[in-house]
Every structure is written in C-alpha cells, then in structure tokens.
Symmetry: C2
C-alpha cells in the first residue's frame, strides 16, 4: 500500500513543516484549516519554511559528510545530492500547497490524515468526530500529539484499526526522526503503511509497538531531568555542578538544567505535576518497585524561579543567564 | 590550609592515576601497598600511565582550542602550555614516586590520605581501622569509593570531621572532573581543603554537599539507563530505536543500550538489583511519590543476554555486536 494524497489538519509550526516535507517528497498535500484567519496565519509560515528549506539546501553544498552539521538528511541522500533539483522540489512543494477550509472536500480520497492541532483534548476529540464520517474507507488517520495518549481518541475516530500516532520533532528536515506509535487496536497493516510513509518523506521512523505516554524520547528525558532536579531539591549540589557531572561524564551537549531552561520552567512544572499524579494509579506491586523522588522539593525549587520571572532561556534567565544569542553567560 | 604530602592507599588502575596526577602537580606522593606482590602489579601501571601522559602531551601540541579532543585539561592551562615542561613534570612524577609497604611510615606527616582500594566493604573498613591510629592529627582522609556510601566507614576512621569522599573517573588527566562529597559529620574546613586540593591537581571539583548514593553522575545515569531498559522490558520498542530516540533528540553520543554495553551487562544487573532493594527502605510518603518501573521484566531481559554470553562491548556482543575496535557492527 502506498499513499498518494495526504491531508494535514492544522497549519501551526509543526503542521506547516509536516505539510511542506510531505509535498517535498512528491505527495499531493492539502492543509485543512478551520477559518480564513487560520489561512492568514498559515501562509506566512509556509513562506518562511520555504526560505528555510532553500537556505538549508544552499548550506548542504558545503557539507563534507552525512555527519556534517550542515547536512539535512530529510532533504536528500548524500550520495546523490543535487542542490538545484532540491531547490526546485522545495519551491514546487510550497507553490502547489493546497489550503482548504471545507473538511469534506479536503479529506475526499485522502490516503492519510495527519492531525496536528493544538494540544487541547476537547479540540482534538471534536476534530476526530467531525472528520470520521467524511473520510473514505481506506483513509488512515494519525495524531501528532506529544502529551495526550492516542487511545483517548480511538472511539472518536470510528476506525480503531486505521488510527495511530506519528510524532514529529521540530525542524524535521534536519532532525528527521519520527516516532510511529500504535494504540491497542491499530492493525499491523496500518502500522506498516505509516512506517513506509515516514520513510517515504525521508524520516527515520522509530517503531513504538505499544502505546506509551512520552513515546521513546520523553520516556527517557523526563526521568533523567527529574533525577537532576531531585539532586537540587534535596540540597545535594547546584545546577551547574549537576549539569557538568552529566556533560563531562557522558559527552552530551547539555545537562538537565540546560534542558529545563530550553523547554521553559513552566513546562517543567507541568511535567513534575504529571509525574506526581501518574504513580497514584500504580498497583501496590508496581509501587513497591518504585524510585523515590522528592517531588514536593522539586516543585518548590521550580516555583521559586518562576516567581522570580526566571522562566528559562526564552526569558533571558532560568537556572542560567543567557545573552541575546541564547548562550549562557558564565 | 595547603597540602604537601599525599598518600594514595592502593595502586590499582585508579590509584596509580591519582598518584601520578598528584605528583605531576608537585605534591610529595607515596603509594601504600599491602604486599610485595602489589608493588609488582603497581609499578607496570605507573610505567604505562607515564607513557600515556607523555603521548597525551605530545598530542596536545596539535590542539587548536581547549575544546579540541586532543587537549587534556588536567595537564596544563591552554594559554601557557609548554610541552617540554609538561613532559619533564610527567617523568619526574613517575621517577619520584614512592611505593611503601609500611603503613605507619607511609602516612607519617601526611596531609591527605586517599583510599583507593577494591570496592569491598570489609577490606575498606579494615584499612580505615588500621590507618586511624597511625595518622597525625592534621591528616584528612578521603575515599574514592563509587558504590559504597562513605558514612558506613565514618566510625572506622576515628576522625569524622576530617573524613569525606573524593571520587575520580577514569583517565583523569583528560576527564578532569571529580566529585567531592561530604558525609554528615565532615567539617566545612575539611570540605574546603579537599576542594582546594582537587583544583591544585587541575581537577574541576563538583561539590556534593550532602551524602548521596551514586554522587551526581550515577544519580542521573542510573534512572536514565533504567528508563531505557524499562521500554525494552515492556515491549515498547527495540534497543536501536530507543538509543536513536535519545541520541537524535538530545545530541548525546550514546543511548542507554550503548552505555549498558560499555559498562557490561553483569554490572547492569547489579544496578537493577540495587535499585530494586533501595525502595524497600522508603517511607510510605516517599513510596507514594515513586515512579513505576518493571524491574522484573528488566532483569529478565538482562538475564537472557547474559545467559547467551552477550555481556557487552568487552565480550564483542551485548545489545549490539562490536568489531575489534569496539565499533558497532550495523
């Protein structure tokens, strides 16, 4: 099974990239938007991403290997890179993009619908209910949700076997990894078809064979970030030393507090809140096997910084102070 | 307070490096060894590390910045690097090294004793008891233990205020970060003196202001490694995809399964065992705040690999297969 017609529902920062990346690789792409106002917000994003694609392609000319930071693996194979051809692709993807307000018209004959709307459960549920009767039998529908479990919308899609998650990061032409995650009723045929589609738009698909909150990356990132915060909350050491232990010991570019500052401390607080609630549903057996963290102390630390307006890198200060380029001021 | 005379107890892989690094920076160093046999094992290590220092210094000539992988921050300041002077220091450190079997003679007039013996609690306790009455009043004693809590030996040292931990990684001339950790009775004067000593041998000291199992690095490393193993144990995904999610999402060089293979799967099993036991001592309040992991599944996964002889990189195969250079065969 091969997809031809793809609909992206939502024209935000991620939706626009997904649409452009998909069109770049030759798929017939329509972005469905809810209102004229949404079109007015989406078109400038597409224009901006077209420019970013063209600049990235220009930069790729100087890449000496696939590991060169200038190389964008989502845009070409290293051995057969042709900058002019790539630039033509990017322009065509941008110029041929269809923006559509009529949902029935948008999804008529769609092979794949990619839901990429705001992370608001009610809005997503409404969309799935509305689109369900309009899609042809063959259509597979995926959600790009990061923080909501796909299974909570399965019944709304009315096609449990053809519904799963396809989760993109930002700057997908460069960071071309995507998590493909089933829910309990997804058919293997749908799973395989979406894995194939991901490879078709030059993404490296990471298969997630059972539903898991946080997929693969956040499932590792959150316990690690909380382990660092726990050290601070318990007065063991300071953010800079905790980060240095990590970067020096593992060769990674950032420690937990640099990542907290990158995602923002308000988001960090939400993460701690979520983790504090989840264990409540654990069985006694599971609870016995748990890891002790000082969540109360963690929240107190974050609240102190938030109260002082130290919200992270975007605010110029979080656990570290930043200059206008986002570099840490030591 | 400034140290002059330093004794390293134990001439293993770490003890030899610590002794050489300390002598390199001009301290008067004695290695105390338990037997003639220990001397026979220690001297070749010192000879080997002298060669490694000399080769590192030769390589540093080509370093274009402090971030150059060839630069060894433990051996010189970048702005005033003089290769000949450094090489002379390394040779002198090696040639002047004193190896001593008589413990009383070794620690007479010592400012600092660095315990760097095997990670066997009884042997360490015996050593602390034996050395306690022999040390002068002024001597501070530190343990380099990674896995045992310093406080379990406090009473054996008979000088609780002058006893703490100074924890080194391997290849300290290159990875020049050290964790300096107090136990509850360590005086601030001793803490500050050891921080100053660490800076004196060109290590970046990371202060650990309360005793914590795993210090700063392992406190972050273990929850992260277990979060990856938990994904595999629960059938969420495969080692390669879990690693790829991490390396691609964070820019780190290795994912959890590459680290498992590096430390070895037998060590990994010990880590899981330790974590399974620790929560048993948690209070009900702590337990309520815990994180659910499938420890039984994790151990089953590790046991399967161990039973098949896939013990990690050193065995040629673990979660990945390795060639003779330790590179993963894809």
């Amino acid at each position: 099974m091969s997809f031809k017609k793809v609909v992206v529902a939502g024209g935000g920062v991620l939706g626009s990239q997904i649409a452009l990346q998909t069109a770049y690789w030759g798929y017939d792409v329509t972005i469905w938007l809810r209102s004229e106002g949404s079109i007015g917000r989406c078109q400038p994003k597409l224009d901006k991403f077209e420019q970013q694609y063209l600049e990235a392609i220009e930069g790729m000319k100087g890449a000496t290997s696939e590991n060169d930071p200038a190389w964008c693996p989502g845009l070409a194979d290293f051995d057969s890179f042709d900058a002019d051809e790539c630039a033509a692709r990017a322009r065509k993807a941008h110029d041929d993009m269809k923006l559509e307000l009529d949902l029935g018209k948008a999804v008529a004959d769609a092979d794949l619908v990619i839901e990429s709307m705001a992370e608001v459960a009610d809005q997503k549920a409404d969309f799935f209910k509305k689109v369900a009767p309009l899609m042809p039998e063959k259509t597979i529908i995926v959600t790009n949700s990061s923080s909501l479990l796909p299974s909570q919308f399965t019944k709304d899609t009315d096609r449990p076997d053809r519904y799963l998650a396809l989760h993109f990061a930002n700057s997908i032409w460069k960071h071309n990894v995507t998590e493909v995650m089933v829910q309990s009723e997804t058919s293997d045929a749908s799973f395989q078809a979406v894995l194939e589609f991901a490879r078709g738009i030059h993404m490296q698909p990471l298969p997630v064979k059972k539903e898991k909150a946080g997929y693969l990356l956040n499932s590792q990132l959150v316990p690690w970030m909380l382990s660092g915060l726990d050290l601070l909350a318990n007065g063991i050491s300071d953010p800079e030393s905790i980060d240095k232990a990590w970067t020096s010991g593992t060769g990674a570019p950032k420690g937990p507090f640099q990542v907290f500052d990158t995602v923002g401390l308000t988001t960090a607080m939400n993460i701690v809140d979520q983790y504090q609630k989840v264990p409540g549903i654990a069985t006694p057996l599971l609870r016995k096997m748990m890891l002790p963290y000082n969540f109360k102390g963690m929240k107190a630390v974050l609240q102190k910084y938030i109260d002082e307006g130290k919200l992270g890198m975007a605010a110029g200060e979080g656990f570290y102070k930043y200059d206008e380029n986002g570099d840490i001021i030591r």
